[in-house]
Subunit: 115 residues, 2 copies
DNA sequence: CAAATATACATAAATTTCTTATGCATAACA
DNA sequence: TGTTATGCATAAGAAATTTATGTATATTTG
């Protein structure tokens, strides 16, 4: 990924969310889209991306279709049924995570919570 | 930590923010406070916490004061000057991270961004 | 009052995730 | 024609965390 350690653990969620949104994507496309969306802040390295895609596929969350475009290989990934379900869970976890981190950073965001 | 992988990489930032806020805390206190704030969602394990504290101390970001309370040992940690500066950076990174993740999850949060 | 739980620290082995470094191949650009 | 972009892959190493222990005292509970 990039500088701050914070992105560790979020790669799978990012991949799955993008696939949920775009139907199908190939690896290189994912790296470029993430770079665009985060205005260059997050650069997914190939060494992280490809093993992650392979693992998601092995876990039955992604399906692959290989295509040749401009005489170059592309592996299009899309969510399986199981992957779609899991994506819902992951996104819910992500929202909880973000909420919790915001609360930790600015605890008075939730004045009801006494500690 | 807990279930979702997302918290990986955020432990140091959490520790430093809590210390910035509370002046000084001991390890066990940190675990309990985090549990409270996140309503039980995030449980920092000892195997993660203590090595993290030791490393932050070794890096000169934390100072320790050992005290005996109720005949039990406590190691109070607080930010050094250097640690205070670094905390500002880490929190800025965290905010950027959260923004980016929110954008990834709900890209239309920023309609100006075309891709 | 004995057993279980809470408080409080610590470390070591194994696992997971990611970085860094390569490698291969084609296309486009300068 | 050399560099950059596109597109995939893997392997070695680093870093953070989990899981499993270990030690010790205090408190609660049956």
């Amino acid at each position: 990924m990039k500088n701050s350690q914070l992105y560790k653990g979020s790669l799978n969620t990012i991949i799955m969310k993008l696939l949920e949104e775009n139907g199908r994507m190939y690896g290189y496309e994912i790296t470029q889209k993430v770079k665009l969306i985060t205005k260059g802040e997050l650069n997914i390295t190939e060494g992280a991306l490809y093993p992650a895609l392979h693992k998601l596929e092995a876990d039955g969350l992604l399906d692959v279709e290989v295509e040749r475009v401009d005489n170059r290989l592309r592996k299009y990934y899309k969510l399986t049924k199981s992957g779609e379900k899991e994506t819902v869970n992951r996104l819910a976890e992500l929202e909880e995570f973000i909420k919790n981190m915001q609360t930790l950073v600015t605890p008075n965001i939730n004045p009801d919570l006494q500690y």
